[in-house]
Amino acid sequence: MPNTDAMAEAHDPLVFEHRLKQQAALEQRRDAVMRIVRQTVTFTVFLALLVGLYTGYKAFGQSIDDAQHDWAVIGSVLPRTDDLNMPPVSEIFGQFGETPGGQDQIYARILFGEALFTLREAFAGFLVGLVIGMVIALALAQWRRLEQGLLPYVVASQTVPLIAIAPIIVIWGRKNFDVFPWEWQDWMSVSVIATYLTFFPVAVNGLRGLQSPRPENQELMASYAATWWQALWRLRLPASLPYLFAALKIAATASIVGAIVGEISAGVEGGLGRRILREAFNYTTGPDRLFASVLGAAVLGIFVFLVVTGVERLVVGRHGGGAAT
């Protein structure tokens, strides 16, 4: 009995199509897994290469005793190779598992907590920057006169060095930001600094994205008698997404940089910025810890980049999606 059923199923076109779909889904999943495996392998190979390069250069420098020579390159243009200037990779990575004096957690756990703190500042800044950037992009796309008048200032805003605005924002925050229903804290000033770095790529790329639909598409919208909102919602916003995500990848990593620099200039305790400042200060007695803390910041940067890439896949699909499809 089951045999005949199976036979019947196999010849049923609907079932056949279903099988095909299953097959395709399976293949897609296998492709996805393979892609991740491939990427991981490539990443690991490159990491090994970098570690090898670092260690090889260090070993070479040590073997010729670079401190005793007046080499033009080794120990002069390139760093000296002793443990103070180039701590061994094993010590840098070993640092993650060690418990610093006066602490009860291993270094990796401490860095993780501080990375979360910095991530919160950066993310709050990123969100606000995204909103401000999109509002600016929409306004500039809507009124050409505004684009000519305002865009130079948007660009100029990014040439102001962070270390100049950071103290201003912090003092401003402590003194004047009591209009908010919540108590203004210094980490929020750091978020403002992250916002400052984030809104720019969003505004510039968002503007390009909003202007990207071809005239015939816009005319089509007009022929449907679509309102401004409908045209925005159904045509221009979706068309801007690929541009927007390109900007968000820059903005996400920039928000981390902004948060770290902001913490350092503003004196906010608890995040990676204070950690890096601390380890820079203690470099003479613990160079490996500075390297390890900077690695921690790099990992955080890669993490937020991957998150944005993941969200992009989720939102526009794997292939990035053509404009206005």
Binding site: G101, A124, S265, L277, R278
Partner: protein, 382 residues
Amino acid sequence: MTARRIWRLLAVLLVFGLVAASCGNDDDDASEPAPATEAAESMEMQEVSLQLQWVPQSQFAGYFAARDLGFYEDVGLEVTIVDGSVDIVPATVLDSGAADFAISWVPRGLVPREEGLNITNIAQVFQRSGTLQVSFADAGITGPDDLEGTLVGNWGFGNELEMFAGLNSVGLDPQSDVTLVQQDFNMTALINGDIDSAQAMIYNEYAQVLETINPDTGELFQPEDFSVIDWNDVGTAMLQDAIWADADRLETDAEYRDMAVRFVEASLRGWIHCRDNFQECVDIVVAASPPFGGPGHQAWMMNEINALIWPSPGGVGVMDQALYDQTIDVATSQGILQAAPDAGAFRTDIAEEAVANLQAAGLDVYGNDFARRTVELTEGGN
């Protein structure tokens, strides 16, 4: 199909936002220091904020002790201590009104004051300068004249003036007779041999080199491995940590002046406590916030900071006119100040009132029998 993408993006952002917000709230609850509420409720407390010049470390132990041991509370103040950092200028924060009091070196307060900030020094806590010029003993640099023709590390930004004046005092020109090298804020350049001498605070960077392993011996570097030029001995030292207040507010706001007296009194009581209860203050600093150097480093610093304060011949916190004049001499001769500041640059009435109150309470405000202890350093200051 396409608008759905926007919805999806908004949904993802919303989820992230909610997660972040909930994490944020948890952190807030955990990180907020528990205020001493019992006393605050029974007595009307005035909120006061103090801007430090740098991150928490034993350099500020007196204020942390006064906060944690309830000295501020005893005089009706609830003090928030705000960390300094790389780009924070305490004088500016004070003048802007974002802090009620600030800790700043005297020249770093007087320069912005000359540029128009209306601030004044109300208590000169440190009676000596903690700045040294450190070199390896075999370099033979034992006095300012030995610096001639060498690579002289310094931090710049006004930190180099004691050294410049020291060079001038032996007839050397800092711009032509030595090679100035901008120094990082650690001692790596000296250990590397990139500079012949390095600027160091006796309580921080000098300790750092003594916490470093000497590659030749496998043991920590020892004090005899180094020569030290102490600008206090050369006679070009400039006054450092002082408590600054808003000069306008002191004149116009009687309540603020009264608050200043109480703040200075409780702060100085903290410093007296740290002189007499060395280890307790080290522990308070380490507990306040993980300091840059470990507990051993903080113990060294506490000892050296005490030695910068004690003995205080005119009473703790009271300006020593001769040292003030020397500071101004160096600042004007080196061109960092255009002219000697007017009489409003510092005032002693507040510190004197505070000292009188402390004396009335039976505390020793001079510390004439203070003696440095011996602090053993360990690798990395842990």
